[in-house]
């Protein structure tokens, strides 16, 4: 593991250990979600560019205890253009802290892999820090949310190079009355970029449902 990766790992582990002690008495809550979305992938290298679109299925699990949050997301789909097609696999494992009722701080790795038939996979991996905010539009019934992340360390495996990345996700979340269920409509855009100008940009529109367990 490179030194650049070691520092974020230690930071995340320390944060988890410290906050876990603080909230040892709190109860766990868990949320499971599943969703489907449409993705547009823009790949550029110099003057060459490709635009692929496709669908993606995703799932997530969120565990919360006191102010501590852990989130695991996984998504898989296929994007195509007129001439090419790729499988897309993406995932993240984040540790978060509920700083305010409306504000969350996130730390953790995010990865996205493009699998092209006959070629080796192209995987973006970022160690990220991010902020999530939530505001009630019809409090208790409809919220808006936004999440912005920045990769403070990243890499691409082919060609092997360090990378920078950032992303944002915005949307609406409605609470189904009298049920532990939430429905989300979200828009996200993320970009991974190398110093030589190569970049992959992903736009996504997703509908998902979240189910709460106490």
């Amino acid at each position: 593991m490179s030194r650049r990766l070691l520092v974020p790992c230690v930071a995340v582990a320390s944060a988890l250990a410290f906050t876990a002690q603080l909230h040892a008495q709190s109860r766990w809550t868990a949320t499971f979600g599943a969703g489907a979305g449409r993705e547009i992938v823009h790949s550029r290298f110099g003057s060459a560019q490709t635009r692929l679109t496709g669908s993606l299925l995703s799932g997530e699990a969120i565990a919360m205890r006191g102010r501590l949050i852990a989130r695991l997301r996984y998504g898989q789909g296929h994007v195509t253009s007129d001439t090419a097609g790729r499988d897309v696999v993406q995932g993240e494992l984040l540790a978060g802290y509920q700083a305010r009722p409306w504000l969350q701080v996130w730390l953790g790795p995010r990865a996205r892999t493009f699998v092209t038939s006959g070629l080796s996979d192209r995987r973006w991996l970022f160690w990220t820090g991010g902020l999530g905010a939530r505001g009630g539009i019809f409090p208790g019934r409809l919220d808006s949310f936004a999440e912005l992340w920045l990769g403070f360390s990243g890499s691409l495996n082919r060609p092997t190079a360090s990378a920078s990345g950032r992303g944002v996700e915005l949307g609406l979340e409605t609470i189904v009355p009298k049920r532990p269920l939430r429905l989300r409509l979200s828009y996200l855009v993320e970009q991974g970029r190398l110093d030589d100008g190569r970049r992959d940009t992903v736009e996504g529109f997703a509908l998902s449902a979240r189910y709460f367990l106490r």
Binding site: G135, I137, L170, V189, Q191, R199
Partner: protein
């Protein structure tokens, strides 16, 4: 065993009877004495009418001797003294009759014996004694309030005979507060005190005072002093009762506030702006899809609907009615307070007590 119980029961009954008898023996004489004062007077008057003067004198003296709450009323005292004076006169005890008549004059300078009941000798004797016994008694409202310098407290003096008097308001330490009158009095006289001290500029401090009326004999000596307690009080300041307060006196907002409406508008507006701006910042060099505005527009539209649903600035009728009731109550309280302040401004309270006639030693009759 039964015999013992029977004997014990008898003993108990005997003891109970003894206690009841003792209690009755202690309680009954006091009650009888209370009833006896007026009853003895009636018996004394009946004995006088039957010309049993010895018996009448004894009964009347006994009636007059009763003290405390069972004593004769002032009117009965005057009646008893007049019959006793007549009895003594008819028993040919003129000195005693004169002394009793003097006592009657001092006790009630306004008293005049009934000409249809008593013999002319008594009427003459009483008249002579009355003329020779200068004394006054006063009557005044028990509790009143005046504006010093504008209003006055009236004290009506009744005299036993024509004589000179000096009336003054004095403090309990003997300090003269205000001379009210000095001169002759005939049958009666009205003293007026305007509530000011001797300087005539301000009322005396609140406290206890005495209206002292000195009666002079022909030699100019003080032979009687009537003392009427007078209490000067701060002016009444709350003469009207405040209206009862409603159950809840906290004013409520009459219009829907802007804050909550802005709080639901802000996330939507920020979300809309974020959808428009952030993709361009995040995905540099790319042209984000216009479809993102569907999400951004939905967020913004939802927040606008939420903002409108809060109806900021619109009246809340229930709160308006609630506040109207409170304001009416507040206005009523303010009006009462104002009226009470107007009523109480410059007022002093004057409370009078029962007058007492004193005869300085060695100055009789």
């Amino acid at each position: 065993m039964d015999a013992q119980d029977t004997r014990a029961g008898r003993l108990m009954r005997s003891a109970l009877l003894l206690v009841v008898l003792c209690t009755g023996a202690v309680a009954l004489p006091g009650r009888a004495a209370g009833q006896a004062a007026s009853g003895t007077l009636t018996q004394g008057v009946r004995a006088y009418d039957d010309l049993e003067f010895e018996q009448a004198a004894g009964l009347l003296r006994r009636a007059l001797a009763v003290q405390g709450k069972d004593a004769l009323s002032p009117a009965d005292v005057s009646r008893a003294l007049s019959y006793l004076a007549a009895t003594e006169l008819l028993r040919d005890r003129r000195d005693s009759a004169r002394a009793i008549a003097r006592r009657l004059v001092v006790a009630n300078p306004r008293f005049r014996p009934d000409e249809l009941v008593f013999p002319p000798q008594l009427l003459l004797l009483y008249e002579v004694v009355r003329r020779a016994t200068p004394a006054v008694i006063g009557e005044a409202p028990a509790d009143t309030a005046i504006r010093p310098g504008k209003d006055a407290v009236a004290v009506r003096l009744y005299a036993s005979s024509v004589h000179d008097i000096a009336a003054a308001l004095v403090a309990l330490d003997g300090r003269m507060v205000r001379t009210l009158y000095r001169g002759p009095i005939g049958d009666s006289l009205v003293l007026r005190w305007n509530g000011l001290d001797s300087a005539g500029t301000r009322p005396p401090p609140s406290g206890s005072y005495v209206l002292a009326v000195s009666s002079f004999n022909r030699d100019g000596r003080v032979v009687r002093i009537m003392r009427m307690p007078i209490e000067v009080l701060p002016g009444p300041t709350d003469t009207l009762a405040h209206p009862p307060a409603p159950a809840d006196t906290v004013l409520l907002p009459e219009r829907r506030p802007m804050g909550p409406a802005l709080r639901v508008l802000a996330p939507g507006v920020l979300g809309g702006v974020g959808v428009a701006v952030l993709p361009g910042l995040v995905a540099r060099g790319e042209q984000p899809s216009g479809v993102r505005f569907v999400v951004g527009g939905t967020v913004t539209l939802a927040s606008i609907v939420a903002f409108v649903s809060h109806r900021p600035g619109r009246q809340i009728p229930a709160n308006v009615v609630h506040n109207r009731g409170i304001r009416e109550w507040q206005n009523a309280v303010a009006a009462v307070t104002r009226r009470n302040a107007e009523r109480g401004r410059g007022l002093i309270g004057v409370r009078t007590g029962t007058p007492l006639i004193l005869t300085p030693e060695g100055t009789g009759p």
